[in-house]
């Protein structure tokens, strides 16, 4: 990245964060330098996009969707429906300027990883999680099938620390999966973030458990979200839990990364001392879970509908 950084000279009074070894230093309104505190060495430069620039990109990216260059198994056309009219664009922009979208603005990480259907582990998908951290022990993620502006919202995942997980009843725990393997194996990545920046967070996340419901099964060709939500599982180092190589290759090519190289660089990440056997239920029991929808009496206040 081209930038004008005075080499070998550090301004005084950089902003510091005592509990990290990194210093973030605003160079100007568009660039932020990351400097290792101990060695005072420049690690990398972030380009910051202002809100105005982002809005401009939002306007220009609302074009007719182009085919995904990284075609993957089960790739399906965008949902049916007419393209957005100019009138709708104007309405949306107008409303957006007047409303605050606080909960959505709290999303702080994009994670790309893989998930498997609990009731059919031969079906595997690449997922894009947009993560909000509510506190040190709990995160909530909106999950999409891609990171482009037409990404389809395919589900929600919740992530809890081991401390919270141990407090759950066993019947609840069996719906959850562990994250240690997928992080250590390099499957879970933060696109565009240098490994060094992301590692402290990964240390924390390696000990967590997740619960992921998928509401739109795009990989089987559904053009609209059909059926009941499906429970998803995480990759595991056991035959059925291994991610198919072609899925990995497609993902790695798209982001120009190497999952294998990441696995090597993550050797330092501590394995959790113990993974609760109720999680990743299929490993011990050879069974998954599915959700049925059944008719039943509705408790009412008035006639329905």
């Amino acid at each position: 990245m081209q930038h004008a950084v005075p080499r070998g000279r550090l301004p005084k009074h950089p902003r510091t964060f005592p509990s990290t070894y990194l210093v973030l230093l605003p160079l100007n309104s568009s660039y932020l330098a990351v400097i290792t505190r101990d060695t005072r060495r420049l690690d990398c430069i972030f380009e910051i996009r202002s809100k105005t620039q982002r809005r401009f990109e939002m306007a220009s990216s609302d074009k007719t969707p182009t085919p995904n260059p990284a075609s993957r198994p089960g790739d399906q056309p965008t949902p049916p429906g007419k393209p957005m009219t100019m009138g709708q664009h104007i309405l949306d922009k107008g409303a957006e300027m007047m409303q605050s979208l606080k909960p959505v603005n709290q999303m702080s990480q994009h994670v790309c990883t893989f998930a498997l259907y609990s009731h059919d582990m031969t079906r595997q998908i690449e997922t894009h999680h947009y993560v909000t951290r509510l506190n040190q022990d709990f995160l909530q993620c909106a999950v999409y099938d891609s990171d482009d502006s037409h990404g389809r919202l395919i589900g929600v995942e919740y992530i809890v620390s081991d401390k919270i997980f141990e407090s759950l009843p066993p019947d609840e725990q069996k719906l959850w999966h562990s994250h240690a393997y997928e992080i250590k194996a390099g499957l879970w990545v933060n696109p565009r973030i240098p490994e060094m920046i992301g590692q402290p967070e990964l240390q924390n996340l390696a000990k967590t458990y997740g619960k992921f419901w998928c509401t739109w099964q795009v990989d089987r060709g559904d053009r609209l979200p059909l059926g009941a939500p499906a429970l998803m599982m995480s990759p595991q180092p056991v035959n059925l839990g291994m991610v198919k190589p072609e899925l990995l290759e497609t993902r790695d090519a798209k982001y120009n990364i190497s999952t294998d190289a990441l696995k090597t660089s993550r050797v330092e990440i501590a394995e959790p001392e113990w993974i609760n056997p109720q999680a990743d239920y299929w490993k011990l029991h050879g069974k998954g879970f599915a959700v049925d929808v059944k008719q039943t009496e509705m408790k009412k206040i008035t006639p329905f509908p």
């Binding site: 909106a142 719906l175 967070e201 609209l224 998954g288 059944k294």
Partner: protein
């Protein structure tokens, strides 16, 4: 607030962690999230229990003119819990759904025309232009976190939710609370929205659970397709 807001268990986020996350958000590709442009407030109830009602804050993005996808939170605050999601489709797309799927979708006509569905802080005339379209749509709402029963964590299995379909269903205390907090009057809005019309062909008889209740159930299932070769679990 009328809905309970139980605190999510856990230690507060340390400054270091919060700061790193701010840095990452600046450089990553958040396109699907940047497409979210609208906040809608409405109510849902559980498909087997009309008495359990939830104030639902929708944050919506368009897939195209006929389809929207929304994240649902229990409030519009920064610490809001992500409790579910909703898909909205036009009448034309709804008619394309298989008949077995249609009952899981609900109509929006009553919610819009009665005034209880609204866009906070958007002036009426602008709001009504979009609501005019929403009036004809169908939605499929799934909640994962039963905040109305005080759950401080997302326990259990997903719940498919339904929307209000006539007067007398919405619990008055929930309605008054929202009206007070947002300074709106559902009655006044109802008068202004009297001109709006629901789906062109009328509300489909299969929508809204076909008029019956339903619920989700968990079952054990094989974790492989039936016709595959059994493998040994190591």
């Amino acid at each position: 607030m009328a809905t309970t807001h139980a605190q999510v268990p856990g230690e507060p986020t340390p400054t270091s962690m919060a700061f790193l996350e701010t840095a990452t958000a600046a450089v990553q590709n958040f396109s699907p999230i940047k497409s979210i442009h609208q906040h809608l407030c409405a109510f849902h109830f559980y498909s087997n229990d009309m008495t359990r009602q939830v104030e639902a804050h929708h944050f919506c993005a368009h897939q195209n003119e006929e389809m929207r996808q929304c994240l649902i939170y229990d409030s519009e605050a920064a610490d809001a819990k992500l409790i579910g999601l909703e898909y909205l489709i036009s009448e034309a797309l709804f008619l394309k759904l298989p008949d077995s799927e249609k009952p899981l979708w609900h109509s929006h006509e009553y919610e819009v025309k009665s005034g209880v569905l609204f866009m906070p802080r958007v002036p009426g005339p602008i709001e009504r232009q979009d609501l005019d379209k929403l009036c004809k749509t169908y939605g499929k709402t799934i909640h994962f976190w039963q905040v109305d029963r005080g759950d401080d964590l997302p326990l259990g299995i997903p719940q498919i939710m339904l929307a209000l379909t006539r007067d007398g269903q919405l619990r008055p205390e929930l309605a008054r609370d929202v009206e007070r907090r947002y300074g709106v009057s559902f009655e006044e809005e109802r008068e202004k929205r009297a001109y709006m019309a629901g789906p062109n062909l009328g509300i489909h008889p299969l929508a809204n659970g076909e008029g019956k209740g339903f619920k989700t159930e968990l079952k054990e299932a094989g974790c492989m397709p039936v016709d595959s070769v059994p493998r040994v679990f190591v």
